[in-house]
């Protein structure tokens, strides 16, 4: 049982390049999230989705785009990479709100460096 899978695990980008961070889950969870964690900081919510076709902005959405065409996949797109986007990115999922613990399930993270 894979859970939440993120690819790539590491990537170095040049300023102005674009890329997509992939996130896929096999738990049939409705809710999916993208967070970034900067050194010494907490996790900041970038975008989230409550189901296929529905996305919404989080705390720090500028410079990113998302789509949710299927329940399983929630890719995060960086269009014009900037050094400020150097971070570790985490994808997370949650079952339908009201589940017992309110737990989020995280992937292992994708470390992105923009030079």
């Amino acid at each position: 049982n894979a859970g939440v899978t993120q690819t790539p695990k590491f990537r170095i980008l040049k300023i102005g390049q674009s890329m997509t961070l992939q996130c896929t889950q096999d738990m049939n969870h409705n809710y999916m999230y993208w967070y970034r964690q900067d050194p010494g900081m907490g996790l900041k919510l970038i975008y989230y989705s409550v189901g296929a076709g529905i996305t919404d902005k989080g705390e720090v959405p500028n410079g990113y785009n998302v789509s949710r065409s299927t329940t399983e996949d929630f890719p995060l797109r960086l269009e014009l990479a900037a050094p400020s986007q150097t971070s570790v990115y985490f994808c997370a999922t949650s079952p339908r709100q009201g589940a017992n613990t309110g737990e989020l399930f995280f992937g292992e993270g994708s470390r992105l460096t923009v030079l």
Partner: protein, 113 residues
Amino acid sequence: DQQVKQNSPSLSVQEGRISILNCDYTNSMFDYFLWYKKYPAEGPTFLISISSIKDKNEDGRFTVFLNKSAKHLSLHIVPSQPGDSAVYFCAARGGSGTYKYIFGTGTRLKVLA
């Protein structure tokens, strides 16, 4: 606007003693509060949570206390073990039909053998 705050960036505790990690929040609409543990180069892992309608939840060595009037929650680890050394994040889930989870900045716990 930091809705979830962890004011102690680090904490050191002797093995076998109690570790107490604190978290404050500002939004009274949060309906769930959670604690996550994170090791370097790994994703956060869920520890324990508490619904906003309760004031205590216990799971083995971990107990979370919620004080709604003070908008404060704490995580107690008893007894602390060296393997508990990690960064602990407090998180809150938006209630009233919102689905956002907001995290604090984390507290690095070091349990000394």
